[in-house]
Amino acid sequence: MTVFLADLNYWVTIFLMIGGLYIIAAHGNMIKKLVGLSIFQTSVYLLFLSPGKVLGGTAPIIAPGFEVYSNPLPHVLILTAIVVGVATIALGLALVVRIHEAYGTIEDDEVQEMEAD
C-alpha cells in the first residue's frame, strides 16, 4: 500500500494515459475522441511535473531563509505543452464544427458510410 501511495502520481499518470488512449480508440464520436486526446495529453503534464517536486523545497523564488527549491523547469515546459494542447483542441473542435456543417453528423462511422457511396 505504501508503495502504491508513494508513487501515486505515476499511477494516476498511467491511468490517465491509458484511459485517454482507450477513449480515442474506442469512441466513434469526434468530440469524445478529442476529450480522450485531451486526457491523454494531461497525463503527460503530470509525468513531467512529478519528478520536478523536491521534497521539502519551496516554490523556486529566491528568498532569504530558504535553501531548497523545487525544480522550475517542468513548469515552464508544461506551460508550453498546455498551450500546445489548447491550440490542438481548438483546431480539432473547429474541424468538427466544419465536418458537422459538411456532413450533418460527427460520428466517425456515419461519415465513412457517406463517403463509401
Binding site: K33, L47, P51, T80, V84, T88, G92, L95, V96
Partner: protein
C-alpha cells in the same frame, strides 16, 4: 555578423514572415513575403552548409544562455543536409503556389494559407536545427498544427475528415514523443541532446530509458508514416491543396526520419546500441511489408493523388530499410533516398496540382488522353515516375543502387530480389498512368484542355531537372549523405 547568426536566422526568417502575412491579409503581398522568406531560408541553409563544411559542428546559444542550460541550436552534417532538403523543396514550391491559390481563395484566406505555410516551414526547420529535446516537440507541434490547417483547406469535404484524422493521430504521435523525452529528462536531468548523448549511453539498459526508447520509436514512426502507422497519410495527401501535398510529401516525413536517426543513433549511443535493440529487425520486416503492401494498394487507386500518397508510404519503406541495416552503405542509401524522394514526390504532386488546376480532377479515368493536351505536365510526371521506379539516369536509380549495395554487403540476396520486385510494382502504377494519359482517347472534359500555366510548370521542371541531374552527378547528394552516415554511425554530435 550575419554568418554568426545563421542558425537563428534559419528559423527566425520564416517565423517573422508568418505574422507579416497575417497582418497584411492580401493574397499577393502574402505570396511575395512567403517567396522572399523561403528563399532567404534556403540561402541560410546553404550558408550553414558551407560553415559546417569549413568549421565542423556549429553551436548557437539562444538568448545567450550557454548550453546545456539554455536552448542550443546545433548544426552538423546530418541536419544541415535535412535543412537543405526542407528549405530547398519549399523554395521551389512557393513560386508555384501563387496561380492555384489565387484562383481558389479570397484575399484573406490566401494570406492565412501563406501564414500557415510559413509556420509549417518554421516548425520543420526548427525541429531539424534545434539541439534541445523539448524544443523539438514544440516545433513539431507548430508544423503539425499548421499542416492540419493547410490540409483542411482542400477543395473536397473529405479534406476536413482527413485533417481531423491526421490531427488525432499526429497529436498521439507527438505526445508519445514527448513522453519519451520526459522519461529521458527524468533519468538525466537534461534536455540538451548533446548532453543527453553523453549521459544516456551509460544508462541505456535501465528500464525508464528503454521505455523512453519504445515511446520514441512508436511516436516517431507515426510521424514518419511507417507501415502500420501510416493510416493518416493517404487521405491527408490526397485531399490537401496541391501546394500542401507537395510540401508535406517532400518535407514532413523526411524531418520525422531525421528525428528518428537523431534519437536512435546520436542520443542513444551510435550504431552499436541501435543494432543491439530489436528495432532494426522490426524496421526491416515493416519496411518490406510497406514496400509491397503500399505499392500494391497504390496500383488499385482510382485517384492519382491518392496513388502517389500510397507510393510515399512505400518509398518511406525504402528509407527505413536503409536505416534498419545499420551500416555505412545502408545509412547513405537512407539519406540519399530521403533527398531524392523529397525532390521526386514534391515534383509529382506539383504537376498533379497543375492537372487539377486545368482539369478539375485527378481521377485516373478523367485523365484519359491528356498526354496530348498537356504534354509538358505529363512528360514531367512520367520522368519523375521513372525516377520513383529507379530507372538509370534518374536520381531514383542512385538511391536504389545504394540500397542494393547495402544489401549485397551483408550477402542478403533475397533482399536484393525483394527490392527489385518492389520496384516492378512501382512500374505497374506508373505504367497505368502512362497508358491512360497517352494511349486513350481524350475524355469529354479533356478535349478543350490547355497546357498548364508557366508559373506552375517552371518550378515543377526545376525538380524534374534536379531528378535527372542528381541521377548523373552524385557528388553532392551522395557525398553529403556519406558524411552524414559516418557521423550517425559514430554517434558524434
Amino acid at each position: 555578423m550575419l554568418a554568426a547568426h545563421l542558425p537563428a536566422l534559419q528559423v527566425v526568417i520564416p517565423l517573422l514572415a508568418a505574422p507579416l502575412c497575417a497582418l497584411f491579409r492580401r493574397g499577393f503581398i502574402g505570396w511575395l513575403i512567403a517567396v522572399v522568406a523561403n528563399w532567404l531560408a534556403f540561402a541560410a541553409s546553404i550558408g550553414l552548409l558551407f560553415r559546417v563544411m569549413n568549421e565542423g559542428v556549429i553551436s548557437y546559444a539562444m538568448g545567450g544562455w550557454a548550453p546545456p542550460i539554455g536552448i542550443e541550436y546545433r548544426v552538423d552534417m546530418i541536419n544541415v543536409f535535412v535543412l537543405l532538403v526542407v528549405s530547398g523543396v519549399g523554395a521551389v514550391i512557393i513560386p508555384f503556389a501563387r496561380t492555384g491559390t489565387a484562383a481558389r481563395f479570397n484575399d484573406t484566406d490566401q494570406a492565412w494559407f501563406y501564414t500557415m505555410y510559413l509556420l509549417a516551414l518554421t516548425g520543420l526547420l526548427g525541429v531539424t536545427i534545434t539541439g534541445d529535446a523539448f524544443n523539438i516537440f514544440v516545433f513539431l507541434e507548430i508544423s503539425s498544427l499548421a499542416s492540419y490547417v493547410m490540409i483542411a483547406m482542400g477543395r473536397d469535404r473529405r479534406a476536413l475528415t482527413a485533417a481531423y484524422q491526421y490531427l488525432i493521430m499526429g497529436t498521439v504521435g507527438a505526445t508519445f514523443i514527448v513522453i519519451g523525452i520526459g522519461l529521458l529528462w527524468a533519468m538525466t536531468g537534461t534536455l540538451n541532446m548533446a548532453d543527453l548523448a553523453q549521459r544516456i549511453p551509460e544508462i541505456n539498459h535501465t528500464r525508464p530509458v528503454l521505455a523512453a526508447l519504445a515511446f520514441l520509436a512508436v511516436g516517431i514512426s507515426l510521424k514518419l508514416a511507417l507501415f502500420p502507422l501510416h493510416l493518416w497519410l493517404p487521405n491527408a495527401y490526397a485531399y490537401a491543396p496541391a501546394v500542401a501535398s507537395a510540401f508535406l510529401a517532400g518535407t514532413a516525413t523526411k524531418v520525422a526520419i531525421y528525428l528518428f536517426l537523431r534519437f536512435f543513433y546520436t542520443v542513444f549511443g551510435g550504431g552499436e546500441f541501435f543494432a543491439s535493440t530489436p528495432i532494426p529487425a522490426m524496421f526491416l520486416a515493416l519496411s518490406i511489408v510497406a514496400m509491397f503492401a503500399a505499392s500494391t494498394v497504390a496500383v488499385f487507386q482510382a485517384d492519382v493523388k491518392r496513388m502517389f500518397a500510397y507510393s510515399s508510404v512505400a518509398q518511406v519503406g525504402f528509407i527505413t530499410l536503409g536505416i534498419s541495416m545499420v551500416s555505412d552503405a545502408g545509412l547513405t542509401a537512407a539519406m540519399v533516398h530521403l533527398f531524392n524522394h523529397a525532390i521526386m514526390k514534391a515534383g509529382i504532386f506539383m504537376l498533379l496540382g497543375a492537372v487539377m488546376f486545368r482539369l478539375g480532377s485527378v481521377k485516373l479515368e478523367d485523365m484519359a488522353g491528356i498526354g496530348r493536351k498537356m504534354p509538358f505536365t505529363m512528360a514531367g510526371i512520367v520522368i519523375l515516375g521513372l525516377g520513383l521506379i529507379g530507372t538509370p539516369g534518374t536520381s531514383g536509380f542512385v538511391s536504389k543502387w545504394w540500397i542494393v549495395l547495402a544489401a549485397l554487403e551483408k550477402d542478403q540476396w533475397w533482399l536484393v530480389a525483394l527490392i527489385l520486385v518492389a520496384s516492378l510494382i512501382t512500374m505497374i502504377y506508373v505504367g497505368r498512368i502512362v497508358e491512360v494519359a497517352y494511349f486513350r482517347e481524350p475524355s469529354a472534359k479533356a478535349v478543350t484542355l490547355r497546357e498548364a500555366p508557366l508559373m506552375m510548370l517552371i518550378p515543377a521542371y526545376v525538380l524534374v531537372a534536379a531528378t535527372i541531374y542528381f541521377g548523373l552527378d552524385t557528388e553532392w547528394s551522395v557525398g553529403l549523405a556519406q558524411r552524414a552516415a559516418a557521423a550517425l554511425l559514430a554517434g558524434t554530435y
